[in-house]
Amino acid sequence: MITLTIDGKQVEAKEGMTVLEAAKASGIHIPTLCHHPSLTPYGGCRLCLVEIEGARTLQPSCTMPAGNGMVIKTNTETVRTTRKFVLDMIFSERNHFCPYCEVSGGDCELQKSAYEQGMTHWSFQPNWIPFEVDASHPYIIMDQNRCILCRRCVRACAELVGNSTLGFEERGAKSQLIADLAVPLGESSCISCGTCVQVCPTGSLIDRWSAYRGLEKDVESHPTICVGCSIGCNIDVQTRNNSIVRIYGDWDGGVNGGVICKVGRFYPMTDQRERITSPMMRVDGQLKKVSWEEALEAIAKKLQPLAGKDGDGMAAVASTRLSTESLHLFKNIFKDGLKSSMVTTTEQGVNTSIFSKVAEQLGKPFEAKLDDVEKADLFIVVGADIVNEHEVIGFFVKRARLENSALYLVDQSTNSLENLADGVLRAESYGEIAKGIKAAMVKLGLAEDPSIQPDALLAEAVKATEISDEVFMKAAYAFASAQQPAIIMGSSVSEMQCIKEWVSLSEMIKGSMVTLKGGANSLAAAQYNLDTALKVNGHQAAFIALGDEDPTEKFNALFEKVSFLAVQATYVSRLSARADVVLPVQNWAEQNGHYLNSDGRLQESIAAITGPAYAWSNQQVLESLAKKLGVEAKSDWNAELHNRQAMVTIQ
């Protein structure tokens, strides 16, 4: 701990803190603009300048390390005058038209800074040279006229997301924010995560779908969970008059620390799917509106006689976007109650079942937590695409590059991250690759394993994979020298033995291994044994608890020959159009429920809006159906999550 004096007050601070952090920790406010708690300090805006005894000029407190014995003054006449001057300079640089700006009136940090300093006007007029608005992107509008060159967006794009699309060109007064090598944002390498919009202090980067719909003071904040994939990012859904205005990443979120991807941030804003607005039943070939009572009755009547039948009975499929409560009740009804032998999810266990079996065989969890992956200095991505799915894990991997982490790809085909990889190991058999690396490690004396014959094993691996032993040895060095290696494995790895090889390699390098899983409740589904492949062969009836998922054509085709199809869904689809009974349900934002994320964290998704009156929650539908069927609904969904050995420690 060190001691310094700020404004005459003795203040204690930790070594390594900046003056700004030390001041904040003791309740002293220093205004800032380019500073952001989740980004590395930049010191560009100069608004945080303070007097430091002995220093020749004012110093930026956001980058100045706090020193023992420093004497700092944050509120002298000089400092106050300088702050106004800094803001004057900033306003004079570009074209700031507060009157019609989307963030004016409470969401503009520049405007608030000026008011805080008591500024009623600028001293210097801008030269009114216009900048073009870049509206090429489907979600993000870039208006250079409002940019204050704080570079928060550049830092966020690099440090939080690892994409480094945004940068600057030119110098001095000509400095300008650009995407890639100055191409329109909509044609750039931007992945539409929107983190830049969330950190932008002015109206320079805005989201066109939220514009003018409500400032922060107008909206209601709803902390909840994204159900776009199994990562379960913490988000803040902001609403006004029961409508979603914008979605932000929660900076305090334990899973994602504030970053989210386009699936969580923007897709809900542009979702134009048509809703199912009433329970319906097929009458004389046409779907007709009926009451809930009639619809549920019709389903019960059809399903009851099929209870206990095998191949010619009923199939039941649920979406992994359903909550744990609903998945559990679904299992109660169809597996435990009606004793169907074909009860699974839309994922059909492809992302989890083999990994669950490995864990069961090993008798213990073999996966680590996402936090461990986040801190890794070497990422080994095996059979996974973390650019187009589970994007936030991709952010962890890509941004760690700035800390000089290494990246190895193990893939059968081309992987989107290849241009960033230090090494690529490409072969059909992932298991052989693992064996090759293990062999090389033992051969090079980097690890010990008496059960391995290194030369023989290495030669076998080289033959099987056609990867040279030099490459294997190079990889072995890289893996061994990493302090905190992480292995990220995707669902294309489907052989038990192969997976076990990787688990063993992971142990050898003392690494953290995670598998991606799939949808939001993929792991919960696995824990409830809802992870079998879907085979519809002669089944007379099928019940699909689809929720707000979009069914694929391949999935729909599976039910072509089923004579009675009941679908519980939010949106109209080819599947619902084909169904005999349709039950309208709420979407993810309209209902509550728990989700077990990919590393075993149990989180609650809380409704942000009230759904339309015609839609029930998934839970309500299943409860009513259970009642009709005379099935007892068991409520120990949480306990049952622990009934099976999981691949990761479950909360």
Binding site: A135, R208, W209, G214, D218
Partner: protein, 478 residues
């Protein structure tokens, strides 16, 4: 010695900047009077490159008296361009805000801008012939006038968060629903608003009775008349088709406003920054038409709220059912519309859809071009945008309300000047009458030129050699 040219600068108690020059003949009578609108800002150019969805926030800065008209017309143009018609509750809410504006704007004009002429007289001392003078001589009326304006402004505030330049309408709908507290607060003010409006109607009717001679000779001339109408040709201020009738009230056209370019063109004169819209088929100036209260009430067959309709029938009976041509009757027509707007507020608030939260349609398909039309207090307002595939504006065309009345205002000024002015004797009161010809139209010259201005009022009388003979200024201390 006879004056060559009389200049009146500025015209006061109007919104915007206007200047009048009166050219004299050798015999001392008026040769021609010109109304020069003397400012230009250029919204049609500098909005290029901004986003379509920003226009509801940028264009209200054309005018601070009727910003809501621009706000809504811009949102409607956005609805059209992005093919996202608002859900019914959103349209009701927008119309409610619009009625608030009609009430505050018309109310303010009658009582505070035109009122001093009517209540204190055209020839009253200029020092008191204004709203402050009204406060001093007729405090009851003045307070009621302030409250009527406040009622209208309050509606705008409750919906859009501010009285001037609210943030409410966006393409596809609006951003905030109405809650019961706000609805009830507005309903509570209706009775007083009706009473004050009726008071105004009584004032204008009494005044008309006493000043019939002036009314008959003050700027009376034929033109066409244009405004939005409902399907059965009732008064409509928010949405509808455009109806154009001829000087006898016979319908010439009824069309979807989005096709306005097929029917309306604008003429430019070198002596005014305000253009002159006219009906293309009849050419310029035969095809000129009037808008705003006088124009609208000549273009419709009835009003579908009871009190206003009753007054409307009384009003149209003045000329036995034929259109009313007298410029001074703008003031009467204006109050009838105010009555309609107050009644309409109640109708809207009693429609249960207006409480719904289904207020925004986000399904957008960019068509590249859109037109939004509304009846601003002063007349038909056209916003026409063209945008690229990303929603950035490439072209903006605006025909703004008062502009449609440009020819009529010039005609009225010319006519009144010729009626009341003889070059040998110029009284301040007669200058005021010439200004009153402009004032009756309640022009919004900021709007119409997408510009604003204001100038001092000096009347200079010069002889043929250009020597200054006489100088009259309105309350400029010598």
């Amino acid at each position: 010695m006879v004056a060559q040219k009389i200049t009146i600068e500025p015209v006061t108690r109007i919104e915007g900047h206007a200047k009048i020059t009166i050219r004299m003949k050798d015999d001392g009578n008026v040769d021609h009077a010109y109304l020069h609108i003397n400012e230009f800002r250029g919204f049609e150019k500098f909005c290029e490159g901004r986003m379509v969805f920003e226009m509801p926030m940028i264009t209200p800065r054309i005018c601070g008296i009727c910003p809501v008209s621009h706000h809504l017309a811009a949102a409607k143009a956005g609805d059209d361009l992005l093919s996202c018609p608002p859900p019914r509750p959103a349209s009701l809410l927008r119309e409610l805000m619009h009625m608030g504006q009609i009430i505050q704007s018309h109310g303010m004009h009658f009582f505070e801008l035109a009122g001093p002429d009517l209540l204190l007289g055209f020839d009253a001392d200029p020092a008191i012939r204004n709203v402050v003078g009204l406060i001093q001589t007729a405090p009851d009326i003045a307070v009621k006038a302030v409250q009527l304006r406040k009622f209208g402004q309050d509606i705008i505030f409750r919906l859009g968060g501010r009285r001037v330049h609210p943030v409410f309408a966006i393409p596809g709908g609006v951003n905030k629903a109405l809650d019961t507290a706000n609805r009830d607060a507005i309903l509570a003010g209706i009775d007083d608003a009706l009473a004050t409006t009726q008071l105004g109607i009584q004032i204008i009717r009494d005044w008309a009775e006493k000043n019939m001679e002036d009314i008959q000779k003050f700027g009376v001339f034929p033109t066409g008349y244009l405004g939005l109408v409902t399907p059965n040709n009732s008064l409509e201020l928010y949405d509808g088709d455009i109806r154009l009738v001829d000087k006898d009230g016979k319908q010439l056209e009824k069309f979807d406003g989005r096709n306005y370019l097929d029917y309306i063109a604008e003429h430019v004169e070198s002596w005014s920054y305000l253009k002159f819209p006219y009906y293309k088929k009849m050419g310029y100036p035969q095809g000129v038409y009037r808008v705003g209260p006088l124009g609208r009430l000549n273009a419709v067959d009835q009003i579908d709220t009871p009190l206003a309709n009753e007054e409307f029938k009384r009003y149209r009976a003045i000329n036995n059912g034929a259109p009313i041509e007298n410029t001074l009757y703008f003031h009467y027509a204006r109050l009838i519309e105010t009555l309609f707007a107050v009644e309409k507020v109640k109708v809207l608030l009693e429609d249960e859809d207006i409480m719904s939260t289904d207020i925004l349609n986000t399904r957008q398909t960019n068509k590249g071009e859109g037109v939004g039309i509304i009846e601003a207090p002063r007349g038909t307002l056209f916003h026409h945008y063209k945008a690229d595939a990303n929603g950035k504006l490439t072209k903006v065309n605006l025909i703004v309300a008062t502009g449609n009345n440009n020819w009529a205002m010039c005609e009225a000024v010319d006519s009144v000047a010729k009626t009341y002015i003889n070059g040998n004797e110029i009284r301040e009161g007669l200058l005021n009458r010439v200004e009153a010809a402009v004032r009756a139209h309640d022009p919004c010259l900021s709007c119409s030129t997408h510009a604003v201005g204001q100038m001092p009022m000096v009347v200079e009388i010069v002889d043929q050699q250009g020597n200054l003979m006489q100088s009259l200024s309105r309350n400029v201390n010598e």
